[in-house]
Symmetry: C2
């Protein structure tokens, strides 16, 4: 299964036994991979549905897949990861790819006080998330949200705990496996005192990632790793 | 201090109060950075000595630094990270850079049963380690070792515990903050059963990094993060 072509389908289409691939996926299947009737493939809708099937037909009019096996994968990740717009977009891309791989429920970008004007487009980032989900062979695609400010991000946190990675955190205030939290990583210049006050005013906690300041994309992965339990308590 | 130019000097020269920069560093200081007498800079020997000083003189004959402040930084990292030669050398480079940033005592490369012929040269990797140390502003440069096989790596482990990241590990055999260990990451195709037996025969332990198979470079950073304590017990 690991080597089978993998396609993303819209959640609304995942219940059928014969599924037509979305246009971009169909083009890739037909023109690039040159799949033919009978070839095995895997489909996912990004909402936990994992389907195995075979190509029913593939031509310039479209590609149809016949489903032979259906699995519902429960959600595995609880945490939301928020990263400020970084000066170097490729580092943000890297963080997104690795966060999907390690496991994250949603990804949030925000303009921090010290962020530069964002140079990454939402549609491009969404495509990167989808590509990362495919490469990591996941059934759940993290949601992607953009926020105009740290304040807006914090206001949208719902009932998630707020954890902010910052050097000012006490050396012994360290992250560990944690109930669902919104993990916040600042821009290269760090969070401003104003932003830290916004976080602590709503009960947010600053956590230390060690004695050395890490690059934003490294901090994102270290924090996500540290708060992610290695096994689910719910007895799977 | 974070923005000062940083140079690497040979450990043998770190005790003096006037230090001549090695040729490559001197060229960079003089021709690229155009440093002049009086400019502040930082020197490190990669063995814990951190020196602050000012340029004494900089010309085509060399660059001398006058030391004004000397700090001895205790070693901070205990773990050795071993990664098999990967098919894609840029992923190895990435792993090395991030491992230095997160903190590692030594880095080991080895030819696994399923490694392809290595396409990275030792001198190039050593230069990458040094660049990562500079960028992360560390006083300790991890040692770099190359091993002809996993067997040779294991034989050279000294008194380090052996932890091997592998999907076959029991789901509840997870890494946590650990005394000094040799962390082993296999190639893209994974360790062979033969190699796993080599490890377990000497008391090595397989650990799980979660329910999903991670890319080698991601596994390296996740394992290193999980076994690295966030604060030192020795009361610093």
């Amino acid at each position: 299964m690991a080597d089978e072509p993998r396609f993303r389908i819209d959640p609304g289409t995942a219940a059928a036994t014969r599924i037509r691939l979305p246009e971009a996926e169909a083009k890739h299947a037909h023109l690039v991979l040159r799949l033919r009737s009978g070839d095995a493939c895997t489909l996912t809708d990004g909402r936990g549905t994992l389907l195995r099937g075979q190509i029913g037909s593939a031509d310039r009019n479209g590609v149809w897949v016949v489903v032979s096996e259906r699995t519902l994968v429960p959600p595995e990740a609880d945490h939301a990861l928020a990263i400020a717009y970084l000066h170097k977009p490729d580092r943000l891309e890297f963080a997104v790819e690795k966060a999907v791989e390690i496991g994250v429920a949603s990804i949030h970008l925000f303009r921090a006080d010290r962020s530069e004007k964002p140079s990454v487009r939402e549609d491009r980032l969404r495509a990167q998330v989808q590509a990362a989900v495919k490469q990591s062979q996941r059934a759940w695609e993290p949601e992607l949200y953009l926020h105009a400010s740290f304040d807006a991000l914090v206001a949208a946190r719902g009932d998630l705990d707020l954890l902010v990675a910052h050097e000012k955190a006490a050396a012994d205030d360290v992250p560990d496996a944690h109930r669902a939290a919104l993990l916040c990583i600042g821009p290269e210049g760090g969070f401003t005192d104003r932003e830290l006050q916004v976080a602590t005013a709503v009960g947010g906690r600053m956590v230390s990632l060690g004695p050395h300041r890490l690059r934003a994309e490294t901090a994102a992965l270290v924090l996500l790793t540290r708060v992610s339990p290695l096994r689910r308590v719910s007895g799977e």
